[in-house]
Symmetry: C2
Subunit: 329 residues, 2 copies
């Protein structure tokens, strides 16, 4: 069942059918009705492949994610999907698994599929990726990452500030022995900036910066647990810990639990992202809030051009208070 069949049955030309189908102008109400009627009872569906091939957009975008299993990613995905669907775009998900070869393979696939745009999340933009992006010849937008070398538009929060604020918050609550479970010092996106923010806050408040108070993880639960375990060994006196992700914070919580420490009585914890996880885990995790869904929504809006043209967008962060932080007196 093609446009041709419809044309024949309605006694018009394919051009006319195409016109009414795309509600353009150039046909009478009468023919329009006739065509529509024929289509109605004939189970016809337009073929997007053909449509796209002959010059139009493909109405699909690619979403490159470093992983699929975390609330951060889920919520971001949800934000993207919701907005995309509203704009009649379909989204192709690509789990890069933080692997170069895999990412490149996806990029090639997206090119073959002629997607109208791609959203690149949370990872560092390498030279190779940059080249692949150029080949893509579509719009690219960075989310929760950015590139100091290449000027792709980005949407993120101010990680340094957010981290600084979280630590300042703990200090304000009376904490002085504050540890941090951060990412890697080599990670210029979510690693370094957050670590720097932590140190800056301590320094600004005239607190000593002790390197034995910082442990590194890779943002997931297990690494957070391990990091906290080592922190206990190195600095049993600490009263608070700030983790660079909710999952690591929950890992810390878990570690505390296993060490017979109570949260927040014996240890205060602040997470990062404020995903659903923060609200779920008892006693409720105080966390730096990132407007995750909005990050996704905005990315799509940038791609479809319904957003002003800017170099980048920094969204505001905040702190969601729950019960994992105790005020020391």
């Amino acid at each position: 069942m093609t446009i041709k069949d419809i044309a024949r049955q309605a006694g018009v030309s394919v051009a006319t059918v195409s016109r009414v189908l795309n509600n353009q102008t150039g046909f009478s109400e009468a023919t329009k009705d006739r065509v529509l009627r024929v289509i109605e009872n004939s189970g016809y569906t337009r073929n997007d492949l053909a449509r796209s091939l002959s010059g139009k957009r493909t109405q699909s975008i690619g979403l490159l994610l470093p992983s699929l299993t975390s609330y951060f990613v889920s919520e971001l995905l949800s934000g993207v999907e919701t907005r995309a669907h509203a704009a009649d775009l379909s989204v192709i998900i690509c789990d890069t698994d933080q692997d170069g070869a895999r990412t490149l393979k996806y990029l090639r696939m997206l090119r073959e599929k002629r997607v109208d745009g791609v959203i690149f999340v949370s990872e560092w933009l390498t030279d190779e990726y940059k080249k692949a992006f150029d080949l893509l010849q579509t719009r690219v937008v960075l989310v929760s990452t950015y590139s100091p070398l290449y000027s792709f538009p980005y949407i993120k929060i101010d990680d340094y500030r957010a981290s600084y604020d979280a630590v300042a918050y703990l200090i304000q609550r009376g904490h002085r022995q504050i540890a941090m479970i951060g990412g890697s010092e080599d990670d210029p996106i979510a690693g370094k900036p957050r670590l720097d923010g932590y140190r800056a806050a301590l320094k600004h408040h005239n607190l000593p910066i002790r390197e034995e108070y910082v442990a590194h993880g890779d943002f997931d639960f297990r690494s957070g647990m391990r990091a906290m375990d080592t922190l206990w060994d190195r600095a049993p006196q600490l009263t608070a810990v700030f983790a660079a992700s909710d999952e690591m914070a929950v890992g810390a919580l878990n570690s505390a639990h296993r060490h017979g420490k109570r949260v927040p009585d014996d240890l205060s914890i602040v997470g990062f992202d404020d995903t659903q996880l923060a609200e779920m885990v008892p006693p409720g995790l105080t966390a730096v809030r990132q407007p995750v869904r909005e990050l996704g929504r905005r990315a799509v809006e940038y791609l479809i051009g319904s957003s002003e043209d800017v170099a980048g967008i920094i969204l505001p962060h905040s702190i969601t208070e729950r019960a994992s932080v105790r005020t020391l007196t």
Copy 2:
């Protein structure tokens, strides 16, 4: 840059280029090398739209999910994505939001995109969906759901048995006052069967079935929390609760926490799914394990036909023991 340009530059016909590109037969090593060389330094990428249009498959599948934000869905998605990627399929995600109109709209879109198959997850298959599926003219596979009316292949676990086993487990641990936080009695997929399994286990062990011991939720965190809250009112004497999802179990845990009850000392909890969440939340949730990723993997394998042809597949479940259940003596 099209196949035509390559053909011209290599001094052959488009047919030949197409042949070597799809590594078929019918060309000499010499021409093959020549063509490949030209392609190499010309940034050519095949156009999948054109390729698909002229009869081939689209190499893409649609994945219909009831929601995007839960570990169950994330892990399933991950299973699907991994397998699909290995088979060079791209997956288009569709968040139905459990909404009929939205689902139908997605189904139409998937038809327009001529996907090679669709995976329908966790929801009840209505007449309307069934009609839309028929229109699709591609393979459809049901995951974590099935249809007694229409014979679509399905992949799931035995919910009734799984639930029965969970409750039997609690009974074996000495519990007698066991509550359940289930889905809706009207939900023939994850609601009724699990509720029935609960009752059957009690009955089989000669324990009374008290309706005030069962509360209903909709599988998410908040509903689990509310359900547990009502349970405390109705039956403060209970020693254990079995929830039909990990999220509801965590909701129950949260409720217990707020009521000053300790888990597992004052209340034992068993969850359902055994997602990452079960392992993350202290003290560690004992849960019925569903091989979620495998569910997804198998679904893709069915679609690409690398799986035997069967009416349905029931995967085995098990119980993962952690620390949320206390043995009563």
